[in-house]
Every structure is written in structure tokens, then in C-alpha cells.
Amino acid sequence: MDILDRKILDAIQEEVPIVSRPFDYIARQVATSEPEVLKRIRKLKQEKIIRRVGGSFNSDKLGYFSTLVAARVPDEKLEKMVEKLNRYSGVTHNYLRGHYYNLWFTLTACSKQRLHELLEQMKQQTGIEELFPLPAVRKFKIMVNFKMNRGK
């Protein structure tokens, strides 16, 4: 990654504008050409630096509900349980963490009722007894961009 890659990453992480020629707009921001921006974005995608360039929607505003879930899963059962849980398309993030509650995942569903149905279903399917929804009471910050061009 060179400095131009980092500048492009910073710009497109911040926003790809909803205009007819968005990559031309980005090119102007970082003082290069539209073909150069497109070429580099394709390369950064191929190199698995960029996961996706696309729209992110606001779950709540679309009418969906989501929650963080904390669970305690015995080590020997972990692999099997994770496989079962990850099959749900509403499970979007799932991490093993070093704690008594060792499995932390996020669950999204089309209604509050569906969310609770899914949690009940998960408990039955996996036999996990300690599985607790932790919905956000208040959100102080949601941000996923990080500065790439940090003067390296």
C-alpha cells in the first residue's frame, strides 16, 4: 500500500457519494484520475484489504431489530454450537472471547417477536442454557472508519 492507496481508502471509507460519477468525485478529492481510483479499488479488493464497497442500511429505521447476545458454551461443545448458530443468517458477527461468557454474537430479525423466537429456537437447538440478549439501551457511537493515512 502506498500513500495514494491510503488516501483512497480514507476517502472511500468516509463516503462514496450518491452521484452519477462517484469515483470521479473521489479522484478529485485525492488529486488523481477516475481510472486510477477504479484500478486501485479493484486491486485493494483483490488483495483482501477492502471487504466490500456498498450501502449500509440502518437496521432500526428499516424496521428490523438487533441485539448483542452473550453466551456460555463449554469448550468441548463450542465448534458444534458455533456451526449451528452461524447457520442463521440473522447472526452477523460471532466472536470467541476470553471470558466466562465466551461466545458473543449479534442477532438481527425482522421484528422483536421474531428475535425472541429465534433466541428460544437457538437455546433448544444448541442446549445452551446461558444465552442472554443484551439489546442496546442507548447508542453513543457507531462508526467503523479508521484512518489509514496516518503519516506512515
Binding site: S20, K61, L68, N86, N94, H99, F105, F132
Partner: protein, 171 residues
């Protein structure tokens, strides 16, 4: 369910926008062609959704591990109920914090404020958390490091397979 606020065409637009934006000069026109609508309709619709918050934005999402952020820690804080508001705002002000939410407490886990910390190393995450602790004057906290990422994806909205996959799963 039903989501009466969206037409079928609008749902189709949302489905397309949550996949990869075509990497060409005029990506929104490409999307419009797929839906057999005009580029203007697509752009106006998306701008309106951005205005009212349904669409956060179009942007690039990175594989963070590969972009120089090797460590992520979920810091959890036990903050007095009446101080959650100012302390939440204060934690949110740190650059290294990507998410900061108030959540209910769990049995045996009295933490009510969650902040995701991103750093180059475990050491850096610890330094950041210590700094936050000093700033907000709260010492009852823990850091839960991710030992393994089992899944990381974006939610796909208005995709009928979501429900059917789960039904299959339950049988």
C-alpha cells in the same frame, strides 16, 4: 411481517445496494439498468433514504485485521446509572472507539457501558483503555479480547432466504 413502507421495487433496490457496488464509472446507472428504472430514480431514492436515516451511506468496508489493526477489545464498564449519559458521550469522543453502547447488566456481569477499542496490538488496546479509565474516573472495567472470529458479515435485508434458511434449520 410485511414492511408496508417499502414497495417491491424499493426492496429490490435495497437488495442490490447491500451487495457490491459495480466498480465502473457510473455504478448507479448499472443498478438502475438491473431494476429497469432510470438512474435519476435510483439516485433520488437513495438520497431520500440517506436524508431520513434509512441508508447510512455508501462506503468501503475493510478487512480490519489486514489494514494494520491487529487487536480489538470489547471494553465493558460499570458506570453509575446517573452518570451513563456524560460518560458515554466522553468515551464516544475517543478516536480508537468504534462503538459505544449502553446495555442492560447480566447476572454476575455488572457492566452497563460497552465500547469497542481498536489498536495495533493488545498493549495498545490496554493503554487506550487505561487512558479512558483515567479520563472518566471509572476503574471497574474489563477488556474482552476476541480470540477467534467465527463470523463477520453484513445483515442482508429483504432477502426471502433469511426466513426459509431458518425454517430449514429448525427441522
Amino acid at each position: 411481517m410485511g414492511f408496508p413502507q417499502f414497495t417491491e421495487q424499493e426492496k429490490a433496490l435495497i437488495r442490490l445496494c447491500q451487495t457490491d457496488l459495480p466498480l465502473c464509472e457510473n455504478p448507479f446507472e448499472k443498478i438502475a439498468q438491473q431494476l429497469q428504472v432510470s438512474e435519476e430514480w435510483v439516485i433520488e431514492k437513495l438520497r431520500a433514504w440517506k436524508q431520513d436515516g434509512k441508508l447510512k451511506k455508501f462506503r468501503a468496508i475493510l478487512f480490519h485485521q489486514k489494514a494494520g489493526y491487529q487487536a480489538n477489545g470489547m471494553s465493558v464498564w460499570n458506570v453509575p446509572e446517573d452518570k451513563i449519559e456524560p460518560i458515554g458521550v466522553e468515551i464516544a469522543g475517543f478516536d480508537e472507539v468504534s462503538h459505544c453502547y449502553q446495555r442492560l447488566q447480566l447476572p454476575g456481569f455488572n457492566f452497563n457501558l460497552y465500547a469497542m477499542i481498536h489498536g495495533q496490538s493488545k498493549q495498545e488496546v490496554e493503554d487506550i483503555v487505561r487512558n479512558i479509565s483515567k479520563t472518566i474516573g471509572v476503574t471497574d472495567y474489563q477488556i474482552l479480547y476476541s480470540l477467534h472470529e467465527y463470523k463477520k458479515t453484513s445483515m442482508k435485508y429483504f432477502v426471502p432466504e433469511i426466513e426459509s434458511a431458518e425454517e430449514k434449520n429448525s427441522r
